[in-house]
Symmetry: C2
Amino acid sequence: AANVRDIHKYYDLGSVVVKALRGVSIEFPKGDFVAIMGSSGSGKSTLLNLLGALDRPTYGQYILGGYDVSQLTDDHLSDIRNRLIGFIFQSYNLIAQYTVLENIEVPLHYRPGHKPISSRDTNRCIDLAQQVGLADRLDHRPYQLSGGQQQRVAIARALVNDPEIILADEPTGNLDSKTEVEIMDILRGLNRQGRTIIMVTHETSVARVAHRQVYMKDGLMAGEGLFPG
Amino acid sequence: AANVRDIHKYYDLGSVVVKALRGVSIEFPKGDFVAIMGSSGSGKSTLLNLLGALDRPTYGQYILGGYDVSQLTDDHLSDIRNRLIGFIFQSYNLIAQYTVLENIEVPLHYRPGHKPISSRDTNRCIDLAQQVGLADRLDHRPYQLSGGQQQRVAIARALVNDPEIILADEPTGNLDSKTEVEIMDILRGLNRQGRTIIMVTHETSVARVAHRQVYMKDGLMAGEGLFPG
Ligand SMILES: Nc1ncnc2c1ncn2[C@@H]1O[C@H](COP(=O)(O)OP(=O)(O)OP(=O)(O)O)[C@@H](O)[C@H]1O
Ligand SMILES: Nc1ncnc2c1ncn2[C@@H]1O[C@H](COP(=O)(O)OP(=O)(O)OP(=O)(O)O)[C@@H](O)[C@H]1O
Ligand SMILES: [Mg+2]
Ligand SMILES: [Mg+2]
């Protein structure tokens, strides 16, 4: 489903260049379920943003759904991304002025052909809100939600377009263990349907749900299995 | 140090009233080190915001440093808060336009008497940045930091005024276990100096560092010890 070859990502800050990724190569076959671990600052979110085609590498190649991403126009890339990928951001990126329901509906506005939102779509969003335990918070705005509730809106939103690939950046960081189990059950179910799930996490309990674990260190893939050892 | 008596916090949303706290009573003696656990949405951040005097209860009494908070003017309360309390927010609340160093310095601008920031102050901020592993990120702005790095800026900022009471809302949610241990060592050291630490956390590894644990459920104190059972 996704294939990263010798990826580098550098941030040029003038007096210093931060090398966030320094030559990462990794393959994600269709239906993969992998946990990416590693120290704070090791490059996990940077890698996930590149996998989500939200950013382009400084050097290296990214093959997504068979396409070499660097050969695509921004529009074409945008189209593929909206069709294929659901992204759960580390800092949620909710829209402050939108309600919970409106936030979950956001990806529906970007469908190919710009189909308007039907009542069937809205029911699907309500159902997703229910699955993450937010059925009674549909009209709340983000500032009226707890941290873990905001995180759950971000999770529901990532699933609304029925994505083939789910990229999750610390999806349970603000959730108690019982709620975490419910979220992992949802992801496990989606993986059993054949979807590819690539999850960044610091939590061993979450990493163990994946089929394999890899970990990063200083912008490089450093090993397989749980981190730390 | 702090004493909460039958605290209620209601949010009136017109068609519905959300009862975030429904009668919480708890005492925090000076030098206490307590972890507050509980489900997502159970009222932990709401309680912490009240303890931080960032919000006022709908009903009930809050005694802070000997003062009944409801009897104080906003200015007097502000003054006490800046002198006594360091707050680590669940969503960090960093200032996007400020660098790491400037963000850590923010509480120094609010000291009684509005003392200007001395070079000794700046060295203290640099030292705190070093303690949380951000010595090489002083000139970065928040969007140029990883999630865990942003969290660590929030931690350093909470400590800069040498507070007697530290309120920490999920202080390690975005940190790998090694970095988490380093942060908990800092907090443990501060508690040994006699400071009061009240920490909201979902992580058992973090809760165990505290001297006692309590947990909340549906806006009430529900029990003592680790959550879930
Ligand atoms: N401004 C508000 N208006 C309406 N409801 C609110 C508001 N702020 C919080 N709430 C509600 O109050 C309840 C408690 O919120 P709080 O943030 O204290 O939970 P929490 O225990 O910190 O949860 P988490 O572990 O997810 O951070 C939640 O159900 C939330 O939806
Ligand atoms: N826009 C930017 N400009 C400069 N440096 C950046 C920028 N974005 C990220 N970095 C740096 O790149 C490195 C990797 O960041 P990244 O967000 O990928 O880390 P991470 O592994 O996700 O960490 P965490 O576990 O704390 O979320 C960090 O050291 C960070 O400071
Ligand atoms: Mg990250
Ligand atoms: Mg909270």
